[in-house]
Amino acid sequence: MLNVQASAVEETAKELYIRALKILPPDIKQGFDRLTRDETGGIAKSVLATMVTNIAVAEQTDNLLCQDTGVPIYNVVVGRDVAIAPQDISAAIRRGCERATREHPLRSSVVHPLTRRNEHTSCGIEVPVIHFDFDDQLESLSIEMVPKGSGSENNSFLRMAIPAEGVQGIKRFVIDSVIAAGGKTCPPTIVGVGLGGTSDLCVALAKRAATRPLGSHCEDPDGAALEQELSAAVNQLGIGPQGLGGDATAFAVHIELAATHITMNPVAVNMQCHSARRARATFTPAGISYGF
């Protein structure tokens, strides 16, 4: 039985928020290498070079990559034989998120939707967003932290397409969403596409796709094939880094899908900006290890 103390979860939740904001995952850095190699646009090349410089400056100065501390999202995966109540995990994550904000300090980017009041804790009603999932790993608890920036999040799209629109309707919607977002999402982005499910599930799938590591593929073979086709297509649009023109509009298009109703063909798009930040901690009997 893996015993996890709430205080350790709290400390880890704090550490994860700060780590995510400072250290870009290696798969994203490799993504920059690839895009830089393939870029043909003059302005685009210099924009990509500045982004790469910024990653190095953030590490050298122990600073945040981007000023946007985002909406904090924690994805918790609980394995078998783990002794801590989910309620305690949630409360500890909230405390850790608040402490990261106060102690680092970080800009609290979270406000009440009507009063716009900022509690300066990065917390509010239902925020941090905490998702629980379960897997079959023995004595393992993993927590992923994603600070979701607003530039990309503000460009989220859902269309309840109908079966007669078919895959063509899906493709057109993805392309037009990327065009509508233009430079506002801080391209190059990871374009997350959710297919199927209900409206809410479809949007959640798009977010999951947008925050998946580069180099990973949709588990469904038809989904994976469409990912490849769309990944090539979006970089033919000429939007480019920061919307200033060029080839590098997206690192990739990622797809997550679910079964849907016979009358439905929902498609959602959620994007992750070039500062595609995430961090992960895993609790095992050996201790806590940090990664991505």
Binding site: V57, N63, L65, Q67, R107, I179, L230, L237, G240
Partner: protein, 203 residues
């Protein structure tokens, strides 16, 4: 494609010399402004004690640390991480910002639209593109948070930064109707049909 070093504030004549594709490095002073700041200034009638005439504003809400007031930190704030937010949300405030406050330069990311471009043309202003998401780098161009106004809106206060070698920034919208974003939009519209065709999608 000239490079310009601008000591802030600037005159209309100086701004009219800037053309898209030129680059600019700002010196001395930069003001930070954002959604809530602009909503309160122009929708709720609030005013600032700062003189923004001829100045540059950047669309930002920084990460700061509260510190005791000193000659090093006259505002009582030290910079932690200062970057840029998406400008498009603040499109409708460009004209009043120029008309009422005399602002001449907007620094932001992602570009702005027709009404901003018209304001730049009518009154003499420019939009300088900074690279969004490169805040660690931008923070090294900021020497000090000199002063802050409307601080009840924190972090969306009106900030006055002392800057050194802030740039190079790209002139992306100028006072002569030039906009790199419009150029890219037109090119993307042309490419859209071809891309959809390659995906087997009927127009």
């Amino acid at each position: 494609m000239a490079h310009h070093e601008l000591q802030m504030p600037v005159t209309e004549e100086q701004v009219r010399q800037l053309r898209v594709h030129d680059t600019v490095t700002l010196q001395r002073t930069l003001f930070g402004i954002r959604d809530a700041t602009l909503i309160h200034m122009f929708d709720r009638g609030r005013t600032t004690r700062f003189d923004l005439k001829g100045h540059a504003v950047i669309h930002t809400a920084p990460n700061v640390r509260k510190v005791p007031q000193s000659s090093e930190h006259p505002s009582g704030y030290a910079p932690v991480c200062i970057g840029t937010t998406t400008s498009d949300r603040m499109e409708r405030f460009t004209r009043p910002l120029m008309q009422r406050e005399g602002v001449r330069i907007i620094v932001g990311k992602g570009g702005m639209r027709d009404e901003s471009l018209a304001s730049f043309r009518d009154m003499g202003g420019v939009y300088l593109a900074i690279i969004g998401g490169t805040a660690a780098l931008e923070t090294t161009w900021i020497e000090q948070i000199e002063d802050v106004d409307l601080d009840d809106l924190n972090p969306e206060s009106l900030w006055r930064f002392r800057i050194r070698d802030f740039g190079p920034l790209l002139v992306a919208m100028d006072s002569h109707g030039g906009s790199l974003y419009d150029t890219v939009r037109r090119e993307v519209d042309e490419k859209r049909a071809k891309v959809l065709q390659s995906l087997g999608v009927k127009a």
